[in-house]
Symmetry: C2
Subunit: 197 residues, 2 copies
DNA sequence: TTACAAATAGCACGATCGTTCGTATCTTAT
DNA sequence: ATAAGATACGAACGATCGTGCTATTTGTAA
């Protein structure tokens, strides 16, 4: 039952996702997006009831992809420090993926949406809070595995890991620093080191 | 010599600055900005040759204000650790200033401009690189003052301090975490602690 | 006060925005 | 094969965008 529509919808969202990393969620335009996927403006629009719906769909697609290539992949590593390391590596790579020209959509969207109420904002903040919790939980597992000291504040750990990622993207994408990778890695190592048992 | 024009130009830029923290530099619209300051669209436009010029003017105004209320103010503290502490406090407060509804313009602009070539991007990245250097230099002074160990990597210190600020704004503004301030402060303290002599 | 320059307004331009609607063309299940 | 429903198109809407032009107002200096 009706697979055709879902296919094109996927094509649309995929292109929109890539465009949004460059131009932001508000910078997305139905018209130019339509011509890029080879649809008429109204034909594309019919797949979403509104631009806001499209934005949410893009965020949802990004979240699913992130879950796949960053989280799920990392969870194949043994719990504890190895898994956390993988998370960090994958996360860094996530924003440097060629084929996704504009880097991490979440970083762009976070700055864009933090002052605009609405469903896109709600969805994004939900995803990010969930991600924070995943990080904290991973830290907790590292304690259980004996890799981290028992008195490590896991929520604090999640906050700092998140912060390093932000610093990394900023240094890499805006400042175009050739040392961004090294800096981020060192910061992460320092974080891990002060948490170790 | 023509002080009137400069005055209204200042009024325009000031309002645009506040608007841009909410809606971004691209989200700025000449029309709505004009009606907010009580000018006609063309009357306002005449002050800047183009929208890009307006954007640069806004960034320049933000940079001057930042220099004043964050940097200069902090530099009244004695060099070394006290000054660095002040920098951090001022910087945190800078993005929470009521009267500037949308938080830190630089954070919003950084995510917005990192993929768009042009004068706004060039100006912003210049300012941010300069800020990074200021931080690194402050760390160097802390070494000279005997507050920090001599083997502290000052550029790394700047990177990590920057990163904490990003994490802070994200946690505070998007996630609306009530613990953002505490988390940022703790992260900063950990950074300072591992740098101390 | 008069003359000149600076500052602002008014109007229009082509373009594009998100959205609606009626209609046509395809898919798919019977 | 045919009816029904999904999918897409074309045209148009009012609104707003940035940006030119030409007046008109305002401020300033002689």
């Amino acid at each position: 039952m009706s697979t055709k529509g879902a296919e094109t919808r996927e094509r649309i969202v995929d292109r929109a996702f890539r465009l949004a990393t460059r131009d932001g969620l508000d910078g997305l335009s139905i018209g130019s997006l339509a011509s890029e996927v080879g649809l008429s403006k109204s034909g594309l629009f019919a797949h979403f009831g509104s631009k806001e719906d499209l934005q949410v769909a893009v965020l949802r697609a990004a979240a699913e992809r992130f879950e796949q290539v960053v989280i799920k992949q990392a969870f194949r590593a043994p719990r504890g420090l190895p898994r956390i390391r993988r998370l960090f590596e994958n996360w860094c790579r996530w924003g440097s993926d060629p084929g996704v020209p504009g880097g991490c959509l979440f970083v762009a969207a976070a700055a864009e949406l933090d002052d605009k109420e609405g469903r896109p904002r709600d969805y994004l903040s939900g995803v990010q809070i969930q991600l924070t919790e995943t990080l904290a939980k991973s830290a907790r597992l590292a304690i259980e595995a004996g890799h981290f000291r028992a008195d490590v504040d896991c929520d604090q750990f999640a906050f700092e890991m998140f912060a390093i990622i932000f610093g990394y993207y900023h240094s890499k994408r805006l400042l175009r620093s050739p040392h961004a990778d090294a800096r981020a890695e060192r910061a992460f190592e320092r974080l891990v080191e002060t948490s170790k048992a």
